[in-house]
C-alpha cells in the first residue's frame, strides 16, 4: 500500500484537526482540544506561520473506513537553544491505527529531520508521556535520549488565571 508525505495546505486543516483530536483521545485528554480548524488555518498559513505541518496521504482506493485519505501528520516548528542554536521541535506525530506498521510514522519523522537539517538545526526536541511505551520504544530505536531521566529537566507552565495574574502588574 503506497502513501505520500507532503507539506500541508490550508485545505488540509479540517483533516489535521480531526487527527489532532484522535491523538488527544489516545493521550487520554480529548477535552483539552479547544482549537478550531479555522484558527489552525490562520495561525499556520499566514505570512508569519506559527507552525508547519506535513501530512501522509493514501490513494482513494486505500482510504480509511470512514473515507479519509489523510491518515497521518507531523506538526513542527523551530525553537532555539542558547547553547547550540537552532532546534526543530516535533510537537505532534500521529498515524491512524489502521495505517500503522507501514513506515508512515518513520517517513514523517525522517522528512522533518531532513527539513531541520536543511535549516541548520542541531537537534530535534519533543515530549512524550511517561506511560506511552509504544512511542517511547519507537523514539529510542531512532536514537532519542530522555532528558527528563538523564538530566532532570521538568516541564512547567503558567496558564489561564496564573498567567493573567502575573501579567497584571507589568510596567
Amino acid at each position: 500500500m503506497n502513501y505520500t508525505v507532503r507539506d500541508s495546505t490550508p485545505g488540509d486543516c479540517k483533516d489535521i484537526m480531526r487527527l489532532i483530536v484522535d491523538l488527544a483521545e489516545y493521550e487520554k485528554m480529548p477535552n483539552e482540544v479547544k482549537l478550531s480548524h479555522k484558527e489552525l488555518e490562520a495561525d499556520g498559513f499566514s505570512s508569519n506561520p506559527f507552525f508547519k505541518c506535513l501530512v501522509a496521504e493514501v490513494p482513494e482506493e486505500f482510504k480509511s473506513k470512514e473515507g479519509h485519505t489523510i491518515v497521518g501528520y507531523g506538526f513542527y516548528f523551530f525553537t532555539y537553544c542558547t547553547w547550540k542554536g537552532r532546534v526543530v521541535y516535533l510537537e505532534d506525530l500521529y498515524v491512524m491505527p489502521e495505517f500503522r506498521g507501514k513506515g508512515i510514522g518513520k517517513a514523517l519523522m525522517s522528512r522533518i529531520a531532513q527539513i531541520g537539517r536543511a535549516q541548520g538545526c542541531v537537534r530535534m526536541q519533543f515530549t512524550v508521556l511517561d506511560w506511552n511505551k509504544p512511542s517511547l520504544d519507537f523514539y529510542s530505536s531512532q536514537g532519542a535520549v530522555n532528558l527528563t531521566a538523564t538530566e532532570g529537566w521538568q516541564l512547567l507552565r503558567f496558564e489561564g488565571e496564573a498567567l493573567e495574574k502575573l501579567a497584571q502588574n507589568a510596567n
Binding site: 537539517r117 537537534r123 526536541q125 531512532q142 532519542a144 502575573l166
Partner: protein, 171 residues
C-alpha cells in the same frame, strides 16, 4: 541600588547576551556545552525571521558590575504552538547576575513576558527547569506555575544531529 530598565535586546547586545548565557550554563553545571557564537546569535535573532526574542535588564553606568557591565539580566523566548489551544510563549532562558538579585529584576522580567504572552494571545507560557533547581522551582510555583512533568507525566526528549542525519538519509 534599585533602578534598572527592561528593554528589547538590540544587535549590539549579543556579546552581553552570550556572556549571560554562559553564566547561566555555569550555574546549571553545563558550561562546556555552550558552543553558540555571537555571530550565530546575531544572525538567528536579528535577521528577517528571528528564531528567538530577547529582553535585557540594564542598570545605569554608576551601578555597573565589578567587571564593568551594565546589562545584568536577560530572558530569551520564542513562540511555539499547541495544536489543542494555539500559540504559546516559550521561555528558553531567564537569568539575573548574582550581584543584582533581590531587587525584583527577575519578577519584573517575568511580568513583562507574561504581559507579552497575554498581548499576543498566547494561552500559556511554558519552560523547563532542572529538578534539582529548588530556588527556581519555588520562585515559579509561588507565582502559580504548574509542573507538567509531575502532574501529567510529560518527559522531554532530544534526538541529536548524528541521528537526525541518519534518519533523514533513511527515507
Amino acid at each position: 541600588m534599585a533602578n534598572f530598565i527592561l528593554r528589547k535586546a538590540e544587535p549590539k547586545d549579543v556579546s552581553d547576551i552570550l556572556r549571560l548565557i554562559k553564566e547561566l550554563a555555569k550555574y546549571e553545571e553545563m558550561e562546556d556545552q555552550v558552543i553558540l557564537t555571537e555571530k550565530e546569535l546575531l544572525e538567528d535573532g536579528f535577521g528577517e525571521h528571528p528564531f528567538y526574542h530577547c529582553v535585557v535588564a540594564e542598570v545605569p553606568k554608576e551601578h555597573q558590575s565589578r567587571e564593568g557591565h551594565t546589562v545584568v539580566g536577560f530572558a530569551m523566548y520564542y513562540f511555539t504552538y499547541d495544536p489543542w489551544i494555539g500559540k504559546l510563549l516559550y521561555l528558553e532562558d531567564f537569568y539575573v547576575m548574582k550581584e543584582y538579585r533581590g531587587y525584583g529584576m527577575g519578577s519584573e522580567i517575568l511580568k513583562k513576558l507574561s504581559h507579552t504572552a497575554v498581548k499576543t494571545r498566547c494561552s500559556s507560557m511554558h519552560f523547563i527547569v532542572a529538578e534539582w533547581n529548588k530556588p527556581s522551582i519555588e520562585f515559579y510555583k509561588r507565582r502559580g506555575a504548574s509542573d507538567l512533568s509531575s502532574e501529567e507525566g510529560w518527559r522531554l526528549f532530544k534526538i541529536d544531529k548524528q541521528y537526525l542525519v541518519k534518519m533523514s538519509s533513511e527515507e
